[in-house]
């Protein structure tokens, strides 16, 4: 007779596809921890989280904590903000290449008026988190990492 047993269907539905959720990643940031995924196939680290390894596409991923340190690869100073960020201007988005390899996006804690291209290449470390409470279109609050220069 065609059809599947309830237990079989439930077993299929219990497969975990998301090893580290965005919510887990953001919760980690609030505790000053940078969470990512280690690939059992290629050994590399994925951060922010994805459903497959960002380097080799393997699905054999385990949660891991990154050291939170890295190098500033680029940044800018935003002077014309999107709605909802008016009070923050000027602020500095940046991309950090972590010591473990993947790049992450965040904000740089630095005086915007003194931010010059010489900052690129400097060592930075995770120093906190910025939470945007969200507007009608953001599906709730979201959090990004804040980095500061080392030394």
């Amino acid at each position: 007779m065609a059809g599947m047993a309830q237990e079989e269907i439930e077993k299929e539905l219990s497969t975990v596809y998301t090893v580290l959720t965005y919510a887990d990643y953001e919760a980690g940031l609030k505790e000053e921890r940078l969470l990512g995924l280690k690939c059992a196939s290629c050994g590399k680290i994925t951060c922010h989280p994805m459903h497959v390894c960002q380097w080799c596409s393997s699905r054999r991923l385990e949660r891991v904590e990154l050291c939170g340190e890295g190098e500033l690869t680029t940044f800018t100073v935003i002077r014309v903000p999107p709605e909802g960020f008016e009070a923050d201007v000027p602020y500095i988005p940046c991309i950090i290449e972590t010591k473990e390899g993947p790049c992450v996006i965040g904000r740089l804690d630095y005086d915007a008026e003194r931010a010059t291209p010489e900052l690129i290449g400097k060592q930075v470390k995770l120093s906190g988190a910025y939470t945007y409470e969200g507007d009608k279109y953001s599906g709730g609050a979201h959090t990004c990492p804040i980095f500061k220069l080392v030394g």
Binding site: F75, T76, P82, P117
Partner: protein, 397 residues
């Protein structure tokens, strides 16, 4: 696949529009139908780019209402969204459907009414084409994305930032010069003789990009009539053929290996060239996605028109001007002509075809008329890329 031709083109005035986007789109369709000398009843499907219509006018499912406004009957009408590349992906899919033989004649194009949102909210909604979970809370904006690319470009090629700003300013000067000559451009008869200092001293938006490094928010629509190439000469003596198309996808900025060398664009352009059986050397004119001055440089390099790191000097040397190695954005581009994001890809095709017909404004027209032209459209932070190669004669078999 069959070859596909563009036999009719339409384009509203870009800038601030009082009419609704549905009205703008219908106007551009009627222009295209008249241009092609065909009837509305000949249209079998409609492909419409519209990026942010829900936020601008509370309108989703706009393609169906466009078909209804033109009494096209119950034909398939589909809205395409690929941020600023919406119209290009709509045109590409339309060409696929006609090429497949499913339809013989269709409308493809796009529309947008971004100015109605005002700068703050428009900046917010455009930023929705960033990666919402990770780039959203940063407060990233589109100027910021390209500002970060410019910072990186200066670093990689060891160009002092002020020097790069000067080189980028030449893109703005060139595109505004041509936009000022284009009667359908947002800045027609405006900003046509910019000085270097005016660009560099304009208000800083996201370091190192100032206001005149940026394209404006715009309203407008553009539409094309596509048909099977074998039928094109029934309608026009001057069909233009779609010789190749490409499309590529990217992801969040932080996942890109190098934000000055977007893989999505490199891959899309290669696909289009391969399909057309052409190389950058064959192309006589380009309409490329200069949403910001730096974007034009990155596009030229990624598409293979200049070596990595050489586009900045090339623009400064006039190699992308009329009479140069490859004229770029003789319509004014997004910077001079305006950028109603859902319409831009169709507008780019429109202006390539105008050039091929010798109908661009004096001062913008390439002479002799170009044989091959190419468009480049970018959506998001390199998330959606699309290229269309056009020619005055059919693809060589």
């Amino acid at each position: 696949m069959r070859d596909v031709a563009v036999i009719g083109i339409g384009h509203t005035k870009f800038g601030r529009a009082s009419k609704a986007s549905l009205e703008l789109f219908s106007e551009s369709v009627l222009q295209a139908i008249d241009d092609a000398g065909v009837e509305l009843k000949d249209i079998e499907a409609l492909f419409q780019g519209a990026a942010l219509a829900g936020f601008e006018e509370g309108q989703v499912m706009s393609a169906a209402f466009s078909a209804a406004d033109l009494n096209l009957g119950p034909i398939p009408a589909t809205r395409y969204e690929g941020a600023c590349a919406s119209a290009s992906v709509a045109i590409r899919d339309a060409a696929m459907w006609v090429g497949s033989g499913e339809y013989d004649m269709v409308i493809a194009g796009g529309m947008e009414k971004a100015l109605t949102m005002g700068t703050l909210f428009a900046t917010r909604t455009f930023a929705m084409a960033c990666h919402a979970p990770t780039e959203g809370p940063v407060g990233l904006t589109f100027p910021a994305v390209f500002a970060m690319a410019a910072m990186r470009y200066a670093k990689i090629y060891d160009i002092p930032l002020e020097k790069l700003r000067e080189k980028m300013a030449h893109v703005s000067i060139k595109n505004h010069k041509h936009g000022a000559l284009n009667p359908l451009a947002q800045f027609y008869k405006k900003l046509g003789a910019l000085k270097l200092e005016e660009v560099m001293d304009s208000k800083m938006v996201a370091d190192p990009l100032s206001l005149l490094d940026c394209c404006p928010f715009s309203d407008g629509a553009s539409a094309l009539v596509l048909c099977a190439a074998e039928d094109a000469r029934k309608y026009t003596d001057e069909p233009v053929y779609i010789l190749g198309t490409g499309q590529g996808s990217g992801g969040p900025l932080s996942k890109m290996e190098d934000i000055t060398k977007p893989v999505s664009r490199i891959s899309s352009a290669k696909t289009a060239f391969k399909q057309a059986g052409l190389t950058p050397k064959d192309i006589d004119i380009l309409e490329i996605h200069d949403c910001f001055t730096i974007a034009e440089l990155i596009a030229l390099e990624s598409m293979g028109f200049f070596e990595w790191g050489e586009a900045a000097d090339a623009v400064e040397d006039g190699q992308t001007e009329l009479g140069g190695k490859i004229p770029v954005n003789m319509s004014g581009g997004l910077i001079g002509k305006g950028h109603p994001i859902g319409a831009t890809g169709a507008s780019q095709v429109y202006w390539i075809i105008k050039q091929m017909r010798g109908e661009a404004a004096k001062g913008n027209q390439v002479d002799p008329v170009p044989e091959y032209g190419m468009t480049d459209t970018l959506g998001g932070d390199f998330g959606t890329l699309c290229h269309i190669i056009l020619g005055r004669s059919k693809r060589k078999k």
